[in-house]
Structures are given as structure tokens and as C-alpha cells.
């Protein structure tokens, strides 16, 4: 009876005995990322517990929490903090999280700031700039400023349809040091400078929403430079013919978290899943598949080689020192409070002053 045994381990006996295992609905991000989650997390969980998992397409935003929310959401830290503050997420008990493989209690094993009242951060992802190596045979882009440099690096761009990373990069292109970015973005002058920079680029930009889109556009040659999530670009590069090159300069790092919305139908099963998915082993497995950094210290030691392509994964993780020397750490507290207002300005700018081309 392996299934019952694992239910005992997971503390789900009452749930299991009371009824047939429920179906857990998880809102997550599709594409290569979801495929990896399916292999590393969802299917093994179903195998152990009998609980089946359905996914719901999700590209971020808090609208997912409105009527009949999913049981579990793979949410970015900024939105987690904002939603938790307004009481739209369930509080989580971090003491039920598994200890590290080396026996370290969860609270010490998780990096600081990754365990918040409503959430458990499970990975570090980065929004990076990538380019089509075919488009720049001679001089290649080497820094954030090149994203805005249409003279030396002409061609269409794809940017996320959101202020995230775009404002940071725009300001960074004025040589503003990384530590000053959010202080300056807190002033009208700083925001104006950032929008001025984006405005210069505006008629060359396609705006994307789903994480897989910039990968497709780069591969098809529709755009020559694009912002996107490092894991997606990594997965694309598993195909050795891929023209995509990642520019780590100015990568914007943020945590991705598991949260349970208020009104979730199967909160107990969702909690069991969080415990299952945030063990050292599962975290390391995700990192080995799609190059998102783990949030547990013990998981870092287990990052090794990609299971199929069989190369060292460490240089592809955002937090690797080689990649992180000019990383921007997304100021999640700042965004959690300001996002709605910044978004309004962003949308006003987009609607009022350009043909966005998408």
C-alpha cells in the first residue's frame, strides 16, 4: 500500500479516508516551464497521493484571485506580498515544511526573505535580455544600454507588457547604479527619464504577455532582442541550433512562490503539495531541468547536470556569481505597494503616445 503510506507521511490520512482523492487546480505559467513542473512535481505527486493535478493558464496579475480561484497559484513575490497584505491569501504554517536533506530545519534552510506569512518561495527566476545571434554577426550586444541602442543594434524588440524590468533597464541605461534604481524611480523625474528612454524605442517594440512568446518571436526572427524569463530561454537553447543568446547584464531577479488563495476548494491538498514540492530534492530537480535557482541553501549543493542534455547547470542559474555580478534584485516591497500606480502610468504612456505594433 505505497499510496496510503505516503499519505500517512504527508499527514493526509483524514482527507484520504474521507473521500476519493480530489483534483488540485494549480494556476501556473505554461510552456516549457509547466512541462518541467509536470515531470518533476505534478506527476510524481499524483503517483504518491492519488491526487490529480489540473493546471490553469496564468500570466500573472491578481485577477486570478477573483471568484472561484484555483487551489494553488505559482505567483511572483511582488503579487504575493500585495495580495497577502489585502488578506486575499491564506496564511501558511512554515513549520510543516520538510527539513533539508542535511537535516537543517526549514526555517534556516530557506534563504532569508523567502518564507513570508502567505507564501513559500520556491525558486529564483530572472528577467533577462536575450538576442538573436544571427542578427548581430559582428559586434554583439553586451549590456543593458544596448537594448536601447538602435543605432548599433537595429531591429525590432520584444518587451514584457508590464513596467517590470523595463523601467529598471531604462533608468540603468543612463548609467544609474543598480542600488539607486528604485530610489530614483520613486521620483517623478526618474519615472519621466525612464519613460523617455522607452519612448525612443516605442515604435520598434512588440509587447508580450505569456512567457513563451518572446522565445517564439526570437526563434522565428520576428524580433532581434527580447526580454524574457531565463528558464524559457535556457530551455530553448537546449536545441543546439537555437540562435538565442542570453545577456546577463542587468538581469532582474525575483522569487516565485506557492500561495493558496482564500476560497480555495482543496486547501489541505494544496498544503500537502507545497510540502512535497519544496523539498530539497524537488527544488534541485527543477533547477537541473530549467535553470531557475532554488531558495533552499541545501538545494544549491545538489545542482549538477541537466538530465538529458548532460551539461553543468550551474552557469545557467541566475544566482551563479558569474551571472549575478550586475544583477538587479527586484525591490518587491516597493513594487507590492506601488505596482498599481506604476502600472497605470505605464498603460497611460502606452495608450496615449504610441502605436504599440502588437
Amino acid at each position: 500500500m505505497p499510496a496510503i503510506k505516503s499519505l500517512l507521511i504527508l499527514g493526509l490520512v483524514p482527507l484520504a479516508l474521507a473521500e476519493t482523492p480530489p483534483t488540485l487546480t494549480i494556476a501556473t505559467w505554461g510552456g516549457a516551464y509547466e512541462s518541467v513542473q509536470r515531470v518533476v512535481l505534478f506527476d510524481p505527486f499524483t503517483e504518491q497521493t492519488g491526487i490529480t493535478i489540473e493546471t490553469e493558464a496564468y500570466n500573472g496579475g491578481l485577477a486570478v484571485l477573483d471568484d472561484s480561484p484555483p487551489d494553488l497559484i505559482d505567483m511572483s513575490m511582488v503579487e504575493t506580498l500585495a495580495a497577502c497584505e489585502t488578506g486575499r491569501l491564506q496564511l501558511l504554517d512554515h513549520s510543516t515544511l520538510a527539513e533539508g536533506t542535511d537535516g537543517t530545519p526549514a526555517r534556516q534552510d530557506f534563504a532569508s526573505g523567502t518564507l513570508q506569512p502567505c507564501s513559500v518561495a520556491h525558486s529564483v527566476y530572472a528577467t533577462v535580455i536575450a538576442y538573436d545571434s544571427r542578427a548581430f554577426p559582428g559586434q554583439r550586444p553586451s549590456g543593458v544600454a544596448d537594448l536601447f541602442n538602435l543605432e548599433d543594434f537595429p531591429g525590432l524588440r520584444a518587451l514584457q507588457d508590464s513596467p517590470y524590468a523595463n523601467l529598471e533597464w531604462a533608468l540603468m541605461s543612463y548609467d544609474v547604479p543598480r542600488k539607486d534604481l528604485y530610489d530614483l524611480l520613486s521620483t517623478q523625474r526618474g519615472l519621466r527619464l525612464a519613460f523617455d528612454r522607452l519612448e525612443n524605442l516605442a515604435d520598434q517594440v512588440f509587447w508580450w504577455q505569456a512567457g513563451q512568446t518572446p522565445v517564439e518571436w526570437l526563434e522565428s526572427g520576428k524580433v532581434v532582442m527580447a526580454s524574457g524569463f531565463n528558464g524559457r530561454f535556457f530551455s530553448a537553447r537546449l536545441d543546439t541550433n537555437s540562435p538565442i543568446e542570453i545577456l546577463w547584464d542587468g538581469q532582474v531577479q525575483e522569487h516565485q512562490t506557492w500561495v493558496i488563495p482564500q476560497g480555495a476548494n482543496h486547501a489541505d491538498a494544496a498544503r500537502a503539495f507545497i510540502r512535497f514540492a519544496t523539498t530539497t530534492g524537488r527544488m534541485a530537480a527543477i533547477a537541473n531541468h530549467i535553470a531557475y535557482g532554488p531558495t533552499r541553501n541545501s538545494a544549491h549543493a545538489l545542482i549538477s547536470r541537466h538530465p538529458e542534455a548532460d551539461f553543468d547547470m550551474r552557469p545557467h542559474i541566475p544566482t551563479h556569481p558569474y551571472n549575478a555580478s550586475t544583477a538587479i534584485s527586484k525591490d518587491v516591497l516597493w513594487y507590492a505597494r506601488t505596482y498599481q500606480r506604476i502600472l497605470q502610468q505605464f498603460e497611460k504612456w502606452r495608450n496615449g503616445e504610441l502605436n504599440d505594433g502588437s
Partner: protein, 580 residues
Amino acid sequence: MIPETIRSSVRLTAHSILGLAKVACLGALVGVVAALLANIFVAGIGWLNDVLLMSPRSRMMETDPLWIVIATLVVPTLGGLIVGLLHKGIFEGRAHGPAEVIAAVQTRRGRLPAWPALLSGLSSLVSLGSGASVGQYGPLVHLGGSVGSFGARLFRTDITVDNIAIACGVAAAISTVFNAPIAGILFAHELILRHFSLRAFAPVAIASIAGYVVANAILPQQPLFQINPTTVLYLWEYGLFLILGVCSALIAVAYMHSIFTVSRMARRIPLPSALKPAVAGAVLGLTALWVPEILGIGSETLRFAFIDGAYGHWELLLVLVLKLLATAWCLGMGFSGGVFSPSLVIGSLFGALFGTLVGTWVGATSELVVYAVCGMVAVTAPVIGAPLTAVIIIFELTGNYALTIAALASVALASLVASLLVGRSFFDRQLQQRGLDLSGGRSKALLVSRTIDSLINNRHVALERNVSVARACTAMGEAMVAEAYLVDDQGRYQGKVTLQALIEKPAEQPAQTFKVVNDFVIDAHTSLWEAMQMLKHFVGESVPVVGRNHQLEGIVFESDLIRAYLEIMAEMRREEYASD
């Protein structure tokens, strides 16, 4: 048998090694403590600014605009009130600052008192935390100096080591907050010690390095600014930097004069002085509703000045003038804080303005940031009176040699021009207004700061004023002196007679007929400097000292005055040149 000369030199070496170890330990200890306190101070300001909605980041994060308006009006006002009340606990009714540190060291009076230092530190923290437009480095210099002075007292050192310890604290504070240890050492020498001795260099360097290590190991300080690699495009631009320097000096002069003018005006405002900072805060808050840039230290404004296109011409001028006025207003009305950080902001805005104008007239030049940095340094250096420090800070923060030389070019004339118009620094001018003139050099300052009080003695012959020549001669002969002083029945000084003048005069005539014609007297509060000036035209043994109502209190021998002068000069030379 070891010859006595070798034994004594071994003893001497052991003694100096011990002394050296003691001073080095003192330097390290002062360095670490000053660095920790400086870190806490800076972190405290940041925390207060965030909590009290004074920093742009916290204002942006506040979702209710009403709270921002309320905070902008209330926080500086309340802060001013607290500052005013804290200053009531200080004898002078104002915060102590770098001027006190300089005065203590230059006059070899040592000893910065702990209680005013504590109150001044607190009031600066409140001022800066509540958004007053003042600087943070002045308070830090005083804090560091006070830690040094306190350390010296713990180690029971002599006055020379006390001065060195003060310099150690200052060096550590600057080294920590700028993350620039060489600048820390230079600053302590340029502004505080004003001489260069190996004896002081070693502990000051140790303290500065200790500050740097603490800053990096325990509480890393963010650099004041970071500038990406940039270079000076054309050699003729160095000529422009010189001109920029001269213009910046005029801005610095205007800045310093505004502060002094507001201080003078503030004294005439018929309000209790404890309330004046609160009034200043209220006016500042009201203005900040319109131009929030004038609140606080202004790091964001400084950063924007480096960006081409962040301000228009008129905006640069407007923010520059308002920042200058706001700082003069806050400091003049009694907020506690420094003049350094605002001059960085004012200077960089001015440099940016100069650079933009030059760009419009001449065409292609180096990046705007080069001009902004030059302006920043050229306004700051004359204000703090430390041109080399200002240049080295640029070098240590940017590691950019071309930029450093550009800064040097702009500082070259700036300090000289400003010193002709105001004085060596803002602090020297402050001290001058308080009666301590350092412009004549340290020897004059030392002599001015000592009175002849301790040299007065009673070994004189006082005679009743109607005494006869014969009796006067006898009295002098018995006392073996050649001078006697005539006093009336109430002991009031009436004149001096000398043996030479009375000899062979008719014995029964009153002695006062023959008293010295070009006689002069001094009082006990006369400074050594004044006494030495008077002595230039003096012939004789001693000078009478008179008190209230012209009462004869005693005399000072000319030889005692000269001995005191020589001792002070010798002490000073020992501090400045000796190596042990």
C-alpha cells in the same frame, strides 16, 4: 659590560615602542568605535527618513497622498521643535560641530566634552531624520572627534596624543561613510591637524583603515555615488574646468554668506531660540510641497545632476537656488547639521548647469557627469577647506584618473578664490566670528587662546603714592629690585618708578614726580598674543596687572612672558615635528 650609552638607548627604544604601541592601540580602538557609531548614525538617518516619509522611496510607497502632505508639513516642524529643545541642554544653545573640533586641536586645548557631543549628535540625527536640508558629514566629524577625545581620556594621554586621537576619530568617520580611507587620513590632516607629523600619521592611518575594515566587514556602506567609466574628451576642456572652478568658488562664497546672513537675521527674530528651528521646519515643509527636492540630504537630486536631460537649464538653476536657500535657512535658523552634503548637491547642480551651457555654446564636450563632478568638488572644497581631500574622495570613489585630474583642475583656483573672500573654510569663518582667528596660523591661535593669568606673581614692591624719593629707593634696595609700583590708599594703581630715575634726585621730593612716562598696564584676561604685541615697545623688568577699578593685582615679569611663549612654541613644534 654594556656601556651606559647603549643601555640608555635601549631603555629609550623600549620606552618609545611602548608609547608607540599605546598610540597605535588608541588609534585602532578609536577607529573601530567611531566607524561603528558613524554607521549607526547613517543607518539611523535612513531609517527615520523611511519611517517619517521623508525619503522619495517611502513617499512613493505610501498609497495615501494625504499622509504625504501631512508628513511634509508636520515632520520637519516637530523635528525642529525637538532640535530646539535639545539645544537648550547645550551651554552655547546650539549644536557643536567641526569648528569645535578644529578649535580644540588648533589651540591644543584638547578635550571635546562628552555631554554636548551626545546632544549635538542626537539633534543632528533628528534634524537629518526629519528632512531638514542640512548635511550629515559635519555631525559625523564631530562625533568621530569626540570619540577620539573620549578615548584619549580613557588612556590618560597627554594633550598631544589627545589631539591625535581626535584626528583618528575624524579620519575613521570619514573613511567609513565615504568608504575612502585615504581621504579620511587626508581630511584629518588638512582640516583638523593642519600639519603633518609622522607621529600623528601612524595612528590616524590605523584608525582610517579600521574604519574602512569595519565599514566593509560589519556594516557595508553604500558608496556616495558610482560613476561609470567616462573620460575627458579634449585637452582644452581642462581650461574650462579651471573657469568652472572659479565660478564654483563664487557659488561657495554665496552659499557660506547666505548661511551667515540667515544666522544674523535669525538672532533678530523675536522668538525664543528653542522655537526657531520649528519655524524653519514649518516653512521648509510648506516649500517642499512645491519642490520636494529641497528636503533632506538630497542624494537623489545629486544623482540626477549626473544625468544629461534630467533637468532643463531653468530647472537646474531653480533647484540650485532653492537648495542653497533651504540649507542656509535651516542651518541659520538653528537646525543642527553639516554644510558638506548640501554643497555636494549645490555644486553638482552648478557643474551640470555649467556643462549644459558649455555644451550649447561650444558643441561636443565630455559627458555631463564630468562637469557635474568638477562643480561638486569645486564648491565643496572651499566650504570644508580641504581641497586635496575633495579630489581624493573622487579618486577613491570612482578610481577614474581622468575624472580626478579634471576635479583637481577645478579645485586648483576655487579654494584660493574663496579663501580671499571668506577665509580658509566655513568653519574658520565661524571660529573667527566667535573670536578665534586661525588665519594667522597655529602659533597665533595658540597664543591668542592663552591668557597671562597663570604668570601673575606678587613679588613686586608696592608703595604708597606720596612716598618720597629716599623711601622709595630704600624699599627697592631692600627688595633687590629696580622697579616699584605706586598705589593709592584703596590699592589702585598710580604709576611705576624705577631706581635709575630716582637716583641722585632730591631725597624729600615725592617719587611720583619721576614716574615712568610711557607706562602701560594689562589685565589678567590679556592673551599671550596681545601681551607679546605690547612688549614690542616695552623696556623694563615687569608689567603691572590691574583688575577691576584699576586695582593692582600683581605683576608679570617680561622673562616669564617670553618663557611661556617659548614653551608653547616648543610644544607645538614637538607635536608637529617630533616622531616620538
